[in-house]
Subunit: 146 residues, 2 copies
Protein backbone atom coordinates (compact mmCIF):
# COMPACT_ATOMS: atom_id res chain seq x y z
CA UNK A 1 0.00 0.00 0.00
CA UNK A 2 2.77 2.42 0.89
CA UNK A 3 5.88 2.23 -1.24
CA UNK A 4 9.32 1.35 0.03
CA UNK A 5 10.44 4.87 -0.78
CA UNK A 6 7.77 6.42 1.44
CA UNK A 7 8.69 4.03 4.21
CA UNK A 8 12.36 4.95 3.89
CA UNK A 9 11.67 8.68 3.82
CA UNK A 10 9.56 8.47 6.96
CA UNK A 11 12.21 6.48 8.78
CA UNK A 12 14.86 9.02 7.88
CA UNK A 13 12.69 11.94 8.94
CA UNK A 14 11.75 10.29 12.23
CA UNK A 15 15.42 9.77 12.90
CA UNK A 16 16.23 13.39 12.15
CA UNK A 17 13.27 14.63 14.18
CA UNK A 18 14.46 12.61 17.14
CA UNK A 19 17.77 14.43 17.16
CA UNK A 20 16.56 17.79 15.85
CA UNK A 21 17.94 20.36 15.45
CA UNK A 22 21.23 18.48 15.29
CA UNK A 23 22.35 17.22 11.89
CA UNK A 24 23.02 13.58 11.08
CA UNK A 25 25.21 12.19 8.34
CA UNK A 26 23.77 9.85 5.75
CA UNK A 27 25.85 7.12 7.36
CA UNK A 28 24.19 7.77 10.72
CA UNK A 29 20.75 7.69 9.14
CA UNK A 30 21.40 4.57 7.09
CA UNK A 31 22.71 2.73 10.13
CA UNK A 32 19.77 3.67 12.29
CA UNK A 33 17.01 3.17 9.75
CA UNK A 34 18.43 0.07 8.03
CA UNK A 35 17.89 1.73 4.65
CA UNK A 36 20.48 0.82 1.96
CA UNK A 37 22.72 3.85 1.98
CA UNK A 38 23.03 4.44 -1.79
CA UNK A 39 19.26 4.50 -2.07
CA UNK A 40 18.81 6.52 1.09
CA UNK A 41 20.97 9.19 -0.50
CA UNK A 42 18.49 9.46 -3.38
CA UNK A 43 15.54 9.64 -1.01
CA UNK A 44 17.24 12.37 0.99
CA UNK A 45 17.98 14.32 -2.17
CA UNK A 46 14.29 14.21 -2.96
CA UNK A 47 13.43 15.42 0.52
CA UNK A 48 15.96 18.22 0.12
CA UNK A 49 14.49 19.33 -3.21
CA UNK A 50 11.07 19.37 -1.57
CA UNK A 51 12.35 21.56 1.23
CA UNK A 52 11.79 19.00 3.97
CA UNK A 53 15.44 18.65 4.87
CA UNK A 54 18.54 20.75 4.30
CA UNK A 55 22.00 19.42 3.68
CA UNK A 56 25.44 20.72 4.46
CA UNK A 57 28.39 19.46 2.52
CA UNK A 58 31.93 19.02 3.72
CA UNK A 59 33.53 17.93 6.93
CA UNK A 60 31.09 18.08 9.83
CA UNK A 61 28.19 18.39 7.43
CA UNK A 62 25.07 16.30 7.28
CA UNK A 63 21.32 16.43 6.98
CA UNK A 64 18.78 18.18 9.19
CA UNK A 65 15.12 19.10 9.18
CA UNK A 66 14.11 22.48 7.82
CA UNK A 67 11.08 22.76 10.12
CA UNK A 68 10.79 21.73 13.73
CA UNK A 69 9.25 18.30 14.36
CA UNK A 70 6.16 20.07 15.71
CA UNK A 71 5.68 21.88 12.41
CA UNK A 72 6.28 18.94 10.10
CA UNK A 73 3.47 16.53 9.26
CA UNK A 74 3.65 13.00 7.96
CA UNK A 75 1.68 14.11 4.92
CA UNK A 76 4.32 16.65 3.94
CA UNK A 77 6.96 13.94 3.97
CA UNK A 78 4.83 11.50 2.02
CA UNK A 79 3.91 14.11 -0.57
CA UNK A 80 7.54 15.13 -0.93
CA UNK A 81 8.66 11.74 -2.13
CA UNK A 82 5.51 10.32 -3.68
CA UNK A 83 2.45 12.57 -3.70
CA UNK A 84 -0.61 10.80 -2.32
CA UNK A 85 -2.69 10.44 -5.48
CA UNK A 86 -6.33 11.24 -4.83
CA UNK A 87 -8.88 10.13 -7.43
CA UNK A 88 -10.14 13.34 -8.99
CA UNK A 89 -11.75 12.12 -12.18
CA UNK A 90 -13.18 8.73 -13.05
CA UNK A 91 -10.19 6.59 -14.10
CA UNK A 92 -12.13 5.41 -17.12
CA UNK A 93 -11.27 8.81 -18.52
CA UNK A 94 -14.41 9.35 -20.55
CA UNK A 95 -14.37 13.04 -21.36
CA UNK A 96 -18.10 13.16 -21.90
CA UNK A 97 -18.68 11.97 -18.38
CA UNK A 98 -17.60 15.08 -16.54
CA UNK A 99 -15.64 15.18 -13.35
CA UNK A 100 -17.93 13.72 -10.69
CA UNK A 101 -16.88 10.29 -9.57
CA UNK A 102 -19.02 7.20 -9.96
CA UNK A 103 -19.99 5.51 -6.69
CA UNK A 104 -17.13 3.02 -6.88
CA UNK A 105 -14.39 5.57 -7.30
CA UNK A 106 -16.03 7.92 -4.83
CA UNK A 107 -15.68 5.21 -2.19
CA UNK A 108 -12.10 4.54 -3.10
CA UNK A 109 -11.30 8.23 -2.98
CA UNK A 110 -12.97 8.56 0.41
CA UNK A 111 -10.61 5.92 1.72
CA UNK A 112 -7.69 7.90 0.32
CA UNK A 113 -9.08 11.06 1.88
CA UNK A 114 -9.12 9.41 5.28
CA UNK A 115 -5.50 8.44 4.93
CA UNK A 116 -4.63 11.93 3.77
CA UNK A 117 -6.42 13.49 6.73
CA UNK A 118 -4.77 11.16 9.21
CA UNK A 119 -1.36 12.00 7.80
CA UNK A 120 -2.04 15.72 7.64
CA UNK A 121 -3.09 15.86 11.27
CA UNK A 122 -0.05 14.04 12.61
CA UNK A 123 3.19 15.89 13.23
CA UNK A 124 6.54 14.28 13.71
CA UNK A 125 6.60 15.68 17.24
CA UNK A 126 3.40 13.80 17.99
CA UNK A 127 4.87 10.60 16.69
CA UNK A 128 7.95 11.02 18.84
CA UNK A 129 6.02 12.11 21.93
CA UNK A 130 3.73 9.12 21.90
CA UNK A 131 4.07 7.02 25.04
CA UNK A 132 5.34 3.58 24.16
CA UNK A 133 5.11 0.67 26.52
CA UNK A 134 6.82 -1.82 24.25
CA UNK A 135 10.47 -2.41 23.67
CA UNK A 136 12.07 -0.07 21.18
CA UNK A 137 10.98 -0.66 17.61
CA UNK A 138 12.82 2.01 15.73
CA UNK A 139 16.53 1.54 15.77
CA UNK A 140 17.53 4.97 17.05
CA UNK A 141 20.79 4.67 18.96
CA UNK A 142 20.39 6.62 22.18
CA UNK A 143 16.87 7.62 21.19
CA UNK A 144 13.91 7.53 23.53
CA UNK A 145 12.85 4.23 22.07
CA UNK A 146 16.23 2.84 21.20
Amino acid sequence: MFSQTVEYALRAVVFLADRAPTTGTTDDIAAATLVPKPYLVKVLQGLARAGIVQTQRGVGGGVSLVKTPAELTILEVVNAVEPLQRIRTCPLGLAAHGVKLCPLHRRMDEALAHVEDAFRSTTLAEVLAEPTTSTPLCNIPGGRRG
Copy 2:
Protein backbone atom coordinates in the same frame (compact mmCIF):
# COMPACT_ATOMS: atom_id res chain seq x y z
CA MET B 1 -2.02 3.88 -3.73
CA PHE B 2 -4.21 1.21 -5.29
CA SER B 3 -2.65 -0.85 -8.03
CA GLN B 4 -3.89 -1.00 -11.59
CA THR B 5 -4.83 -4.63 -11.04
CA VAL B 6 -7.08 -3.78 -8.10
CA GLU B 7 -8.72 -1.02 -10.10
CA TYR B 8 -9.34 -3.40 -13.01
CA ALA B 9 -10.73 -6.14 -10.78
CA LEU B 10 -13.15 -3.72 -9.16
CA ARG B 11 -14.35 -2.40 -12.51
CA ALA B 12 -14.98 -5.92 -13.75
CA VAL B 13 -16.85 -6.91 -10.62
CA VAL B 14 -18.95 -3.75 -10.66
CA PHE B 15 -19.88 -4.52 -14.24
CA LEU B 16 -20.84 -8.08 -13.37
CA ALA B 17 -22.76 -6.98 -10.29
CA ASP B 18 -24.72 -4.53 -12.40
CA ARG B 19 -26.00 -7.33 -14.63
CA ALA B 20 -26.04 -10.12 -12.01
CA PRO B 21 -26.94 -12.90 -12.11
CA THR B 22 -26.49 -12.81 -15.89
CA THR B 23 -23.05 -13.74 -17.24
CA GLY B 24 -20.90 -11.46 -19.35
CA THR B 25 -18.18 -12.43 -21.76
CA THR B 26 -14.67 -11.14 -21.33
CA ASP B 27 -15.26 -9.09 -24.47
CA ASP B 28 -18.30 -7.47 -22.87
CA ILE B 29 -16.37 -6.70 -19.72
CA ALA B 30 -13.32 -5.38 -21.54
CA ALA B 31 -15.45 -3.09 -23.68
CA ALA B 32 -17.38 -1.68 -20.72
CA THR B 33 -14.49 -1.29 -18.31
CA LEU B 34 -11.87 -0.14 -20.82
CA VAL B 35 -9.45 -2.71 -19.44
CA PRO B 36 -7.01 -4.21 -21.98
CA LYS B 37 -8.63 -7.53 -22.73
CA PRO B 38 -5.54 -9.77 -22.54
CA TYR B 39 -4.78 -8.42 -19.11
CA LEU B 40 -8.40 -8.49 -18.00
CA VAL B 41 -8.40 -12.20 -18.72
CA LYS B 42 -5.58 -12.69 -16.23
CA VAL B 43 -7.34 -10.61 -13.60
CA LEU B 44 -10.52 -12.60 -14.07
CA GLN B 45 -8.61 -15.85 -13.72
CA GLY B 46 -7.33 -14.60 -10.39
CA LEU B 47 -10.85 -13.69 -9.32
CA ALA B 48 -12.01 -17.14 -10.39
CA ARG B 49 -9.30 -18.89 -8.39
CA ALA B 50 -10.28 -16.81 -5.37
CA GLY B 51 -13.88 -17.85 -5.75
CA ILE B 52 -15.19 -14.37 -6.49
CA VAL B 53 -16.38 -15.19 -10.01
CA GLN B 54 -17.19 -18.38 -11.85
CA THR B 55 -16.58 -19.02 -15.53
CA GLN B 56 -18.33 -21.09 -18.14
CA ARG B 57 -16.48 -22.17 -21.25
CA GLY B 58 -17.86 -22.69 -24.70
CA VAL B 59 -20.50 -21.02 -26.78
CA GLY B 60 -22.79 -18.89 -24.68
CA GLY B 61 -20.38 -19.05 -21.77
CA GLY B 62 -18.91 -16.16 -19.84
CA VAL B 63 -18.17 -14.87 -16.37
CA SER B 64 -20.55 -14.26 -13.47
CA LEU B 65 -20.39 -13.51 -9.76
CA VAL B 66 -20.45 -16.41 -7.32
CA LYS B 67 -22.19 -14.38 -4.61
CA THR B 68 -24.95 -11.83 -5.00
CA PRO B 69 -23.86 -8.19 -5.09
CA ALA B 70 -25.38 -7.77 -1.63
CA GLU B 71 -23.12 -10.47 -0.23
CA LEU B 72 -19.89 -9.38 -1.91
CA THR B 73 -17.72 -6.68 -0.34
CA ILE B 74 -15.10 -4.49 -1.96
CA LEU B 75 -12.56 -5.90 0.49
CA GLU B 76 -13.13 -9.44 -0.76
CA VAL B 77 -12.39 -8.34 -4.30
CA VAL B 78 -9.31 -6.38 -3.30
CA ASN B 79 -7.95 -9.23 -1.19
CA ALA B 80 -8.57 -11.68 -4.01
CA VAL B 81 -6.22 -9.96 -6.41
CA GLU B 82 -3.81 -8.20 -4.09
CA PRO B 83 -4.29 -8.74 -0.35
CA LEU B 84 -4.33 -5.48 1.56
CA GLN B 85 -1.09 -5.69 3.49
CA ARG B 86 -1.46 -4.52 7.06
CA ILE B 87 1.70 -3.69 9.04
CA ARG B 88 1.95 -6.41 11.65
CA THR B 89 5.55 -6.11 12.78
CA CYS B 90 7.94 -3.18 12.62
CA PRO B 91 9.36 -3.16 9.07
CA LEU B 92 12.83 -2.70 10.50
CA GLY B 93 12.56 -6.38 11.29
CA LEU B 94 14.66 -6.41 14.44
CA ALA B 95 13.87 -9.72 16.07
CA ALA B 96 14.79 -8.51 19.52
CA HIS B 97 12.18 -5.79 19.30
CA GLY B 98 9.09 -7.95 19.58
CA VAL B 99 5.89 -7.44 17.71
CA LYS B 100 4.43 -4.16 18.95
CA LEU B 101 4.68 -1.36 16.42
CA CYS B 102 6.59 1.82 17.03
CA PRO B 103 4.46 5.00 16.96
CA LEU B 104 5.26 5.72 13.31
CA HIS B 105 4.21 2.35 12.02
CA ARG B 106 1.25 2.18 14.35
CA ARG B 107 -0.07 5.36 12.70
CA MET B 108 0.53 4.00 9.24
CA ASP B 109 -1.20 0.76 10.12
CA GLU B 110 -4.16 2.66 11.58
CA ALA B 111 -4.59 4.34 8.23
CA LEU B 112 -4.56 0.96 6.53
CA ALA B 113 -7.06 -0.33 9.06
CA HIS B 114 -9.43 2.49 8.17
CA VAL B 115 -9.22 1.61 4.50
CA GLU B 116 -9.75 -2.04 5.29
CA ASP B 117 -12.81 -1.27 7.41
CA ALA B 118 -14.31 0.99 4.78
CA PHE B 119 -13.86 -1.70 2.15
CA ARG B 120 -15.16 -4.46 4.38
CA SER B 121 -18.32 -2.57 5.16
CA THR B 122 -19.19 -1.76 1.57
CA THR B 123 -20.98 -4.30 -0.59
CA LEU B 124 -21.22 -4.16 -4.34
CA ALA B 125 -24.96 -3.77 -4.00
CA GLU B 126 -24.42 -0.61 -1.96
CA VAL B 127 -22.12 0.77 -4.59
CA LEU B 128 -24.67 0.14 -7.30
CA ALA B 129 -27.63 1.40 -5.27
CA GLU B 130 -26.00 4.70 -4.49
CA PRO B 131 -27.95 7.63 -5.87
CA THR B 132 -25.92 9.47 -8.44
CA THR B 133 -26.78 12.92 -9.66
CA SER B 134 -23.96 13.16 -12.14
CA THR B 135 -23.70 11.88 -15.65
CA PRO B 136 -22.67 8.27 -15.93
CA LEU B 137 -19.07 7.65 -15.02
CA CYS B 138 -18.75 3.95 -15.39
CA ASN B 139 -19.16 2.82 -18.93
CA ILE B 140 -21.89 0.25 -18.43
CA PRO B 141 -23.97 0.00 -21.59
CA GLY B 142 -27.61 0.03 -20.56
CA GLY B 143 -26.60 0.20 -16.90
CA ARG B 144 -28.22 2.51 -14.39
CA ARG B 145 -25.40 4.93 -14.79
CA GLY B 146 -24.49 4.25 -18.37
